[in-house]
Symmetry: C2
Subunit: 94 residues, 2 copies
DNA sequence: CCATTTGTTCTAATGTCATGAAACAAATGT
DNA sequence: ACATTTGTTTCATGACATTAGAACAAATGG
């Protein structure tokens, strides 16, 4: 992997975290220390469910969160591996 | 400072690092272990000088870099304090 | 079978960002 | 004085991001 490709990957991670709603979603997930549903997380923010879905898709696409589906409900959680790899120490600063 | 204000501040930092050119500029500055001029940094990237100036203004505005003026030349450097505060361990991963 | 819950996708509107050319400003050198 | 160097600002443009509403899909419960 070239330096430029690594810069690109890092930029994608930072871009995913550059929106205040997405950052709040990460903080909420992290502080609850458990899986949460889309609706639970969205309920703490003042935005529509389609917007919540849009933001979680972006977080998932760069590997910052993980989704587990059980029946009709989807459980979200933080992907700590990605944070530790690209942003060591960041989660604990939340 | 409220949680929302802290999320906003973090989002601004991440936004500043979410562009591949700005990330390359930080990497170049960090790896040279010395102050560099705008022109030197820009010379390693393939973008116009006005674009380089635009990007450094953004990095400066969130405190990621520092500028020292000596005569007509401006010397740029990394502001390690900001990195250590918001992204501990990140610089060493570059 | 039908209403409800949970979340996704589509669409349209609006807003923000990145870019380079040109003009500008400040300091220097001849 | 005047050209040169170094960087900033202004401007126009094209590209991309964010948002909510509506329609949709899948699973559940009565």
């Amino acid at each position: 992997m070239t330096l430029e490709q690594m810069d690109k990957k890092r930029a994608d991670i930072f871009k995913a975290l550059s929106d205040v709603n997405r950052l709040s979603m990460i903080r909420i997930l992290y502080r609850h220390h458990r899986e949460m549903t889309c609706g639970e997380v969205g309920g703490e923010l003042n935005i529509s469910k389609s917007t919540v879905s849009y933001h979680f898709k972006i977080l998932r696409s760069v590997g910052l969160t993980h989704t587990r589906k059980d029946a009709q409900i989807k459980y979200l959680s933080i992907n700590k591996d990605t944070f530790h790899k690209y942003l060591p120490g960041f989660l604990d600063s939340l």
